[in-house]
């Protein structure tokens, strides 16, 4: 009861300050503009560049500075007005029951509809190579997102080094295929197994860590893997990467223009699009496998244990759940799917180098999972589509892309910390609320 009262009071006070008049808004905007002026005066007002003889030169850009400060001034007025119009941001808004019902109906049909559409993509866009390539890229990230979702969304272990497993899978396939000539279908499970092994190896030391510490250690782990790949030149080729990675075959039948090729065997005219379509269905199958395994695992005791671990580790241990195996299986499962995706990436690109496995990649996959609502399979797929599609839209503005990405991450965390699309509640929970009489919680009778 006490907590509730405080809540109401604080809401009222914020409301009072929000309905303050124009002088307040102008003052706030003016202060914001002053701060912006100091922040940007040196960084944007003055541009430095190394001259031809190593001497630094500089010139002023006061026009840009003025427009940015003006933008901050105008922006803070707009934000303040919006805030007054919408009301306090902290308050949960009640959605009418009818809207909620139609939303859930939409949610039930959106998944299958999306799946059918995805299956038909190569048919609809057969002649548009660009769209097919983009679709393959999106599906790769959907698969990575679903893989990481096991670790972050289900088990609640914040992993900032997921790209390490992606790299292990990619290099495992690339090296096995180029050195021993093994086929993709033999290497795929091996890549997954190797990645899972690395997942367990990462999992062991971090068993006792939680939260932020875990995040930093996984980040360090990801960087170690990248640095080792970069510097172990004899094995991995270092910064030059591995090239000439064999393309996948349809159970031994290559998809090329040769006499043994699939086109020749089927007696149809060869087209390079065949391989793209094959890759599309391959990654779709891998992604759906990830999804199916995750959904099945979630119904098994281990999946329930993951969710329990996410909600409360101490309670989990008190209930007799073995947190060691729970964490290790989560790491291993997530890493295995990352390894599969890595092997696919290697075979699709035909060339891999350490540049593809930087921390930015990890952060991108993590952002997909978080935006997707941490645990929601459909949400992750939609988030991957939005993010990778959005990245494509900004392709022309190469340098601004990551800037916008970072801003979006901050804003979404502030606006919808549980993800834009939705949040998956635990699969099972008590439906009956326990009512406690107010006599029992009266002040002083604790």
């Amino acid at each position: 009861m006490t907590a509730l009262t405080t809540e109401t009071t604080s809401t009222e006070t914020t409301q009072v300050s929000h309905t303050a008049g124009i002088p307040f808004i102008l003052k706030k905007a003016f202060l914001g503009a002053c701060v912006a002026l100091v922040l940007f005066l040196l960084m944007i007002g003055i541009r430095t560049e190394a001259g031809p003889d190593g001497q630094l030169t500089w010139w002023t850009r006061f026009g840009d500075l003025a427009s940015i400060v003006g933008l901050v001034f105008g922006g803070s007025i707009v934000i303040e007005l919006l805030r007054q119009w919408i009301g306090p941001t902290g308050a949960e808004k009640l959605v009418p029951a009818s809207v909620q019902r139609s939303m859930s109906l939409l949610g039930r049909f959106l998944g299958p509809a999306l799946l059918v559409f995805t299956l038909l993509v190569p048919v609809i866009f057969y002649n548009q190579r660009y769209i097919l390539d983009l679709a393959i890229l999106v599906l790769t990230y959907v698969m990575l997102g679903w893989g990481l979702n096991v670790v972050v969304g289900l088990a609640g272990l914040l992993d900032l080094g997921y790209v390490a497993f992606y790299a292990v899978g990619a290099y495992a396939y690339a090296l096995l295929a180029t050195n021993f000539g093994w086929s993709f279908w033999v290497c795929l499970p091996l890549a997954g197994m190797l990645a899972a092994l690395w997942g367990v190896m990462l999992g062991f030391p971090v068993l006792r860590l939680r939260g932020d510490y875990l995040a930093i250690v996984t980040l360090a782990f990801g960087e170690i893997i990248r640095l080792v790949i970069l510097n172990w030149q004899d094995l991995t080729g270092g910064p030059n990467g591995v090239s000439g990675i064999p393309r996948p075959t349809l159970f031994g039948i290559p998809l090329d223009n040769s006499d043994d090729g699939l086109a020749a065997k089927l007696g149809i005219e060869y087209s390079p699009t065949h391989r793209i379509v094959f890759l599309f269905y391959l990654i779709l199958a891998l992604a759906l496998l990830t999804n199916w395994v995750t959904i099945r695992l979630r119904r098994l005791p281990i999946g329930r244990a993951w969710e329990a671990l996410r909600e409360d580790e101490v309670a989990c241990r008190a209930l007799g759940i073995n947190t060691t195996t729970t964490k290790l299986t989560a790491f291993a499962t997530g890493a295995m799917f990352g390894g599969f995706a890595g092997a696919f990436f290697a075979t699709r690109q035909g060339f891999i180098s350490p540049e593809s496995f930087t921390f930015q990649e990890s952060a991108l996959v993590l952002a997909i999972v978080v935006l997707g609502g941490m645990g929601s399979q459909l949400g992750v797929a939609l988030a991957a589509l939005t993010m990778i599609g959005g990245f494509e839209l900004f392709r022309g503005l190469e340098t601004y892309r990551m800037l916008v990405f970072g801003m979006a991450m901050v804003l979404i965390m502030i606006w919808r910390p549980r993800g834009i699309i939705g949040h998956r509640a635990p699969t099972v929970y008590l439906t009956k609320a326990q009512a406690i009489s107010s006599d029992l919680v009266k002040e002083g009778h604790g």
């Binding site: 701060v35 100091v38 922040l39 005066l41 040196l42 960084m43 944007i44 003055i46 541009r47 430095t48 560049e49 190394a50 190593g54 630094l56 500089w58 941001t89 914040l158 900032l160 030391p205 971090v206 006792r208 860590l209 939260g211 932020d212 510490y213 995040a215 930093i216 250690v217 980040l219 360090a220 782990f221 960087e223 170690i224 640095l227 080792v228 970069l230 510097n231 101490v314 309670a315 921390f359 930015q360 952060a363 993590l366 952002a367 978080v370 941490m374 340098t399 601004y400 990551m402 800037l403 990405f405 970072g406 801003m407 979006a408 991450m409 901050v410 965390m413 502030i414 910390p417 549980r418």
Partner: protein
């Protein structure tokens, strides 16, 4: 032996820079309980501000080096502190009572924003500066002609670290602000009930951390003679490693951890391989967290249900 002594000096200087950054991590973690992922980038911004203000002062015709350095130091500290304040205000304060991953993710986003903002604002190329503080002493001349050098620059870095550490230890242990900080560290709700302005104290923590990072950025600029937009990432992780190694939440621990990381990195590069020096630093982070999660001077963390 001479080679060893030289590496020892180099390691201590590098460690001092890490220590200065690590103080920012350790103070923020102590009070808010989150890793300020953008702190490494604040350090990078500090380096840039120092560079630009230095260029401006030299262009204005100032020639007195000590005066220039003092002004540059003050400008860099002030502007970077404002960056620290803004980052906290925009990205962390609205999330203070959110679920525990939210501030971390927002911090990662902020780190991307700062990195790419400086790339957009100042270009991707490395910015060199000529050596500003020159001269030094030859401590010992070996028989094979290898001389142990101690440059004035190195002396300055170590001195500045010691002075700043003394100042901030005094600030935290003797002033009103320091008492508020320690109160917030123990129990924010209780501190608020007893009249401590929690928001303001947390803001001040970020401001102080950013100001120290700016000093580190300036030292880096003077010592290595260059800055670039990407230097914050690796330096940030290493400084965080230093903070963890020293025991997170402890100011002397942060400097001690910084020195340890600086020495390990320098000796690893000198005696093993330069390529794997970052691997060595990151492996130490993992090893420390496994065997000594509370660090050298830290207190054990008690988990409350």
């Amino acid at each position: 032996m001479d080679y060893f002594a030289q590496q020892l000096i180099n390691g201590l200087v590098l460690g001092s820079i890490y220590g200065l950054i690590a103080i920012g991590y350790t103070m923020v973690y102590g009070i808010v309980g989150m890793i300020n992922f953008a702190h490494g980038d604040i350090f990078m911004i500090g380096g840039f501000i120092a560079l630009i203000s230095f260029l401006l002062l030299v262009s204005l015709g100032l020639t007195a080096i000590p005066l220039i350095l003092l002004v540059v130091l003050l400008v860099a500290m002030a502007v970077t502190a404002l960056y620290g304040w803004t980052v906290e205000r925009i990205a962390y304060r609205p999330l203070r009572h959110s679920f525990r991953l939210a501030p971390m993710l927002s911090a990662i986003g902020m780190s991307f924003v700062l990195t790419n903002y400086s790339q957009v604002a100042q270009g991707a190329r490395v910015k060199p500066v000529p050596p500003i503080i020159t001269g030094g002493y030859t401590l010992h001349e070996g028989p094979e002609g290898f001389a142990v050098q101690l440059s004035n620059m190195q002396i300055m870095v170590v001195l500045v670290t010691i002075v700043l550490l003394a100042m901030f230890t005094w600030l935290v242990s003797r002033t009103r602000l320091g008492r508020d900080m320690r109160a917030c560290e123990q129990d924010q709700t209780m501190a608020a009930l007893l009249g401590v302005d929690v928001d303001r104290t947390i803001s001040m923590t970020f401001v102080i951390g950013a100001a120290l990072a700016a000093v580190a950025g300036m030292m880096y600029l003077l010592y290595y003679g260059q800055v670039d937009f990407f230097m914050g990432f690796v330096a940030g992780i290493k400084a965080f490693t230093a903070a963890v190694l020293g025991g997170i939440g402890s100011l002397p621990g942060a400097v001690l951890g910084g020195l340890a990381i600086g020495l390990i990195e320098t000796f690893w590069s000198a005696y093993f391989s330069v390529e794997y020096k970052d691997v060595a630093a990151f492996s130490i982070l993992i090893i420390v967290l496994i065997f000594m999660p509370t660090g050298l001077l830290g207190r054990p963390e008690v988990e409350k249900v």
